[in-house]
Symmetry: C3
Subunit: 155 residues, 3 copies
Amino acid sequence: MDKFNLNDPLFATYVIAASLTILKAVAMSWLTVFRMIGVNGGYRSPEDIKKTPMNPAPDPAQLLPNERVERVRRVQMNDLESLPYFLVAGLLYILTQPSLRLAQWLLYGYVISRLLHFIAYLTGQIHEIRATLWTVGSLILIFMSIRTLLAAVGV
Amino acid sequence: MDKFNLNDPLFATYVIAASLTILKAVAMSWLTVFRMIGVNGGYRSPEDIKKTPMNPAPDPAQLLPNERVERVRRVQMNDLESLPYFLVAGLLYILTQPSLRLAQWLLYGYVISRLLHFIAYLTGQIHEIRATLWTVGSLILIFMSIRTLLAAVGV
Amino acid sequence: MDKFNLNDPLFATYVIAASLTILKAVAMSWLTVFRMIGVNGGYRSPEDIKKTPMNPAPDPAQLLPNERVERVRRVQMNDLESLPYFLVAGLLYILTQPSLRLAQWLLYGYVISRLLHFIAYLTGQIHEIRATLWTVGSLILIFMSIRTLLAAVGV
C-alpha cells in the first residue's frame, strides 16, 4: 500500500492543494516585482538606486515604502504565517487516512479561502471580510493539526 | 516496512513534534489577533481604519505600531526563520533511521526549547535567556540537517 | 519500491538539496547574530538594552536599524518567500518520478542559484544581478510545482 502514489485520490488531493498553494505563494513574489516596476520604486536596498540599464534615472525616493508594493508584501507576510505550516500539516493529515470527501473539503477549502483572502486584501476590502476568510483557513489548519496529533498519540 | 506509519514510534515522534510546532505557530497568529483587539490598534492596512461594526470609532493612531502587538510579531518572525525548516529537517532526519531515544531528545527538545523561547520573549526576559533557548533549537536543527546530509551523500 | 530510500539516487538528490537549503537558511540566522555582535546593535526588543553581562554599556541607539544587520534580514526575508516552498515542491516533484538528470539540474540548480543570490545580495551587487539569480530559482520552483500539479490531476 503506497500512501504517496499520485494515483491515490487522497494523496492526489493533497498534492493538488499543495501545488496550488505554492504557486499562489510564488505569484506574490512576482506581483511584488511587477508592482515595483509599475511604480518604479518601493525598493529596499541602497544598491537599488545605483544607475543601471533598468534604472537609468535613480532617485532616493525609490527607496521609500510604496503602498502598492507594501500591500503585496503584507499579503506575502500573511501567507508566510500560514502556508508553509499548511503544506506540512496537510501532508501529515493525509497520513491519518481521513475520508476522501472530508480531505477534499479541508484541503481545497483552505486553498479557496486563501485565494479569496488574497483578493479581499489586494482590493482593500474592510477588515471584517479579510478576517473572516483568514479565520476559515486558520481553523482548517488547526483542525488538521489537532486531528493528526491525536492520531499520532494514539487517541 | 512502512516508514510513514503512525504506529511506528519513530514516525509518531516526528508527527507529534511537528503537530505541536504547527499549533504553536498558528497560536502566534491568534495571539496577534487577540492583542490587536485588546489594544484596539496595531493594525497595518489603511482600510483597517474604515468605520465598521468591529471598529465603530476609527482613529489613524490605530495604524501606529503597538509594542504589545509588535512583540508577538517579532516572536512570529523568529518562528518563521526556524519552524518551517525544522518541519522538513525533522521528517528527513527520521528517514535516516536514528535511534528512537535520540530522535525523541532532538525533536521534543526542539519543541520545548521553542516553547520556552516563546515564554522568555513574551515576558521580556533579558537577551541572554532568549538567545540561549534560541541556540538550543538552532543547534538541533543544524545537527539533524548535517546528519541527514551525510546519510544522503553516503557517508 | 520505497520512494523514500536514501540509497535511491532520485530521493538522495532531493535530500541533499533540501539539507543544503535548510543549512543555508539557518546560516542566515547566525550571520544576523554575528553581525549584531559585530556592530553591537541592530537589536529590536526594548529588553535588549538592559544592562547584562553581554551588554555592559547599553545605549538606546542599539535599537536603531543597522544596515549591516538589516541587509542579512532582507536576505533572510527573501529566503522565506522561497525556501520553505521549495522544500515541499522539491519533495512532491521527486514523487512524479522525473529523470535523475533533470531532477539534479533543477534541485541543485536551485540551491546554487540561491547561494549565488546570497553572495550577490550580501556584497551589494546591482539589482540586475540579484534579480537574475532570484529569477532562476523562482522559475525552477514554478516549473516543479506546475509539473507536479499536472501529474496529480492526471495530465
